[in-house]
Amino acid sequence: MPTLILVFALAVDMASLQMQKLRLRYAVDLATVTAATAVDERYYSQTGRLQLDPLIATAITREFLMRNLNGMPGIPVPAQIAAAADISVVNHPPAADPYTHARLDRPAVCARIRVPYRFALLGWIGLKVVDLTVAADAEIRT
């Protein structure tokens, strides 16, 4: 019986973990996609080439991270996570995403967050909290 309960708790917590990870992935992904519209217009007029405005893109990423994390279950302080997020703007492709090492062919904004995840049932056996690391990048777009 205890074994059965343990297996049940593992299944529930792992499913919740995967769901949380998916939510976080969406949050980071959409934040970078939104920030990928921050084109450096002056640079574009001066060179004819597209690249991102690093300051604006970084600010947009943090803002939309915070918005996307706000209200998400298990995220008590979204602003803190957004403020602690790693954000990089890559303007000289080809290059690799510094967090996922994915190949970037165009200017892109890359972000990574670390969010603690607290297990609900596995805590009974001492496994209480794990850190979830989620990264995403988005190339320049409108």
Partner: protein, 425 residues
Amino acid sequence: MKPGSTPMKAVLALGLSLALVTSAATNSHGLNGTATTVSITAVSGFAGHAFVYAQVSDSTFTYPAPTGTGHQSPFFSEWVAESIASASCPFIWAVYVFDRATNKQINAPTPDAPSPNFGTTTIRCASPSASPVDQPPQVDAAARLDLDLQVTVSPTMAAAGSPSVVSAVLSSALTEDLNLYLSMAVEEWSVTSWSVDFGDSQVTTLNGGVGTSIQVPHVYQAAGGYDARVVAFISGHAQAAVYDRYGTVHLMRRPFSVEVGNHAIATARTRPSRSYWPPRATVGVVPYLGMAIGGPPATAFRHIDGLRGALTSLSVELLIVREAQLAIDGVSQGFGRSRLTAWRLDGPPSDAPAGSGTTPGVSHSAGDLMRLQWNSPDRIVGGQPQDYLVPVTLFVETRFPDGHVASYVIASSFSVSVNFAAESG
């Protein structure tokens, strides 16, 4: 045909020929029993020289003071030989002239006349050559007027279409016989008109008060050698003075006309070929995603990135690859200055929303912005992205160093890379 008409015609022909051979005017006049002949020969020439020869002949000349008592002149003279201490003139004739009516001397010297004073103003060294008494009478007196005409064309070699000047200068030399018995003079001659044949079928005539030199501007329109001919038409009078036995002069005035011509070679070389080489230029664009920022930037681009789905404003600029050139006879004489006056978007319309994009086929002024949008990324052909090619027609105006302004229409294009949409990793 009437009998005897042939001899009549022959006589007429002979008379006409004689009249033509000599242009002289020959006249005979009786002057108190003397036979005087005045002849004028005016020889026209068209190689730069002409002359007028006038001659008076009096075969029955008489001395001014005839002997005998049949005729008495109003004056009489007494000749007195005076010895003077001179090696060249040992003695002189002192001539005392009196009025026969009053018996008073008419050539008395003034009281303050310098010495030696012989009581007369008429003294003459008694030598055979200087004494009028001993001077042999002359039966002929002549005058000759030589006319020389010099014609030049300046510059000698000019470009066809550029101005030249045909100049003519008439010079003259006059010799006359003026003596006691007969005199012949040429006077009051002048150029009545000039005729200038430029040699290219154009002729100019200058009439009245034109002097003895002319300068006529002319433009030879075609290359080649031209024989410019100038003729001066001259008229005047020759006047003979014949003295009768009483010393009375009789003037005989005869008109004459003569033509003197000359020519000069003018060469008009081929008009220099003036070539206007068009500029080599392409279109360049400066992209803007929002409103245009500030003034025109320094650099325009032939290739730009396009942001997919974004309405992009493009400032159309003229990129000069090689500026227009002015060449004369194939040698460059300087560069022109080209500027864009208008442009036209060719090709298909872009993906811009209706009413917001630039319509192809419509000309726009140089300062107008081109508005384009690309909603699809580059096509992939052979595994490689194929950039958009935007054809543009440029309307260029070029001002050359000589002030010539030319307009050119230049077909050009620029390319746009539109990449795929954003990807999330």
